[in-house]
């Protein structure tokens, strides 16, 4: 189907420096609220979050890797995302047109079942009313509605940008977007060019060329450097990571001690 798109990301961890520009860009673009005291990360909101991995080895083998984690926009082989199928009020939905998992803030009742279901901790609850420092409200993005206390929110792949780009395309009597017409804030902000965003179904897009996902097989890739987080849960994330380091690729999933083969990429 020409219409069917699967927007996704390829994040090259060999390039990521852990600077956090993607997180800042995401917060500013999507009006993500913050608290005066952000020291407790268990109740703060970060749609895009950079984690630090270590190989837990002493010097001189000690090594670290930064791994940015947006929402994975999963689509399992049976067609369900872990979060979408559990929402009692249909406040989160999977778009077959774009492959994006959406969140309807004004319909969310705040039961947090989706957060429990998400294996990536990509969903966040608004424990407090959003309060911005005075005058900062003038800097909020007019394209994204701020969320109220008591609802769940998460990365939307900057869906408002898709809507704006589609509006423009319709005006020009087009149905298709060019690759550069719709890009997420994090992908544009990354100074190391580690994040590539686009349609995983479109052979002209860089993401497709980078990992060549197998459409008939849940988007699995044979790229030797590529892996997806918790691949064997069967959630089929649309975020692909690239790393030349074996320990980083293995950190992306759980392995039994006796296993010596990684799911994607080269074997040890």
């Amino acid at each position: 189907m020409r219409d069917e798109k699967k927007y996704g990301m390829v994040i090259d961890l060999d390039k990521c420096t852990g600077c956090g520009a993607c997180m800042v860009a995401c917060m500013a673009e999507n009006n993500v609220p913050f608290k005066e005291d952000e020291s407790n990360k268990l109740d703060s909101i970060t749609w895009m979050r950079v984690y630090k991995l270590t190989n837990e080895k002493p010097f001189p083998e000690a090594d670290i890797c930064y791994i940015p984690r947006p929402c994975m926009h999963c689509e399992a082989d049976h067609g369900h995302s872990p979060c979408v199928s559990v929402c009692p009020a249909t406040a989160t939905d999977y778009s077959l047109r774009t492959g994006i998992v959406s969140q309807i803030y004004s319909r969310c009742i705040g039961c947090r079942y989706c957060m429990v279901a998400c294996p990536y901790h990509a969903r966040y609850f608004n424990w407090w009313d959003p309060v911005w420092p005075s005058d900062m409200e003038k800097y909020l993005s007019p394209n994204v509605s701020p969320r109220m206390r008591g609802v769940v929110e998460k990365c939307s792949f900057c869906f408002h940008r898709y809507q704006l780009a589609m509006d423009k395309a319709f005006l020009e009597k087009r149905r298709e977007l060019k690759e550069n017409e719709y890009q997420t804030a994090c992908a544009q902000a990354c100074p190391a060019d580690a994040i590539t965003f686009g349609d995983l179904n479109n052979p002209e897009h860089a993401v497709q060329q980078l990992v060549r996902p197998d459409r008939k097989n849940g988007g699995r890739t044979k790229h030797p450097r590529a892996f997806r987080l918790l691949e064997r849960l069967g959630t089929n994330p649309k975020i692909y990571y690239l790393s030349s380091r074996e320990w980083v690729r293995r950190a992306g999933d759980n392995y039994l001690k006796k296993e010596n083969k990684t799911l994607s990429g080269r074997s040890t």
């Binding site: 872990p82 559990v86 009692p88 009020a89 969310c108 009742i109 705040g110 279901a117 609850f125 609802v151």
Partner: protein, 292 residues
Amino acid sequence: MDNALIPKGVKRCPFSQFVILLGPVVVVLLLGVFAMLLVWLKGLNQTNMNDAYGFAAWIWADLTVIALGGGAFFTGFLRYIIGKDELKNIINYAVLIGVICYSSALLILGIDIGQPLRGWFIFWHANVHSMLTEVAFCLTVYLGVLIIEFVPLIMENRQIDRVPFFHHLGHRMHEIMAVFAATGAYLSFFHQGSLGGVAGVLFGRPFAFREGVFIWPWTFFLFTWSAAAVGPCFTILITRIAEKITQKKLVKENVIQLLAKISGWMLATYIIAKIIDTWYWAAVTAPSKGLP
């Protein structure tokens, strides 16, 4: 003054004793009301839950009050469907406890969701794939059934019984109560099951995920079985507590023994089923999801 409202042969205890015995219950109730107002006015941040532990309050409540209320549905099932007539002495207050517990559970659902005013969205925008939708529907409808079951008990009051309309209403309702008891048992079986399914369907969470039949994970059936097994135990527990406090023998020993025997057998079979379930999860399901 209120002689007409209390049954024959029963005497009021001294007022001071009444207050002392009721005091602790009132204190707990007031604490609950205070907590409820805190959450509604200031938000769920008052509960100390967080994103890593976000599903706590109503699960805790469900595992306590619903378990207590579980006595109502299974005792009703045994009395009206299986026809264990000995249970007629115990069914009334099992239903009373059921009404209290299930209405509390619904209230706690209303407190635990981040946007209580949107609670009705579960019914309006219902997602039929969600176990929580099933829980909400069954809880609500079952509370309705419990209230219908409870009405004839109110009608039994001697003063109310004098009004012909209420007398006939109570009588007629009692006659068709088996239909409601059956409906209630059916609904309750389903919602106990869907409570078990809440965690079991989470295919992204290997520690909770269970395989099963069609859309139902094994925990769906295990929860139904355990609720039916433990429900009568709670009914017995409350009977014993009530007997201790009132210092009266309220229920005949053979009724207690009947419930205890049924519970014992069901719990024994449940434990076997649960061991098989846990073994299968540890040996097959968890490793397939990469949980070492």
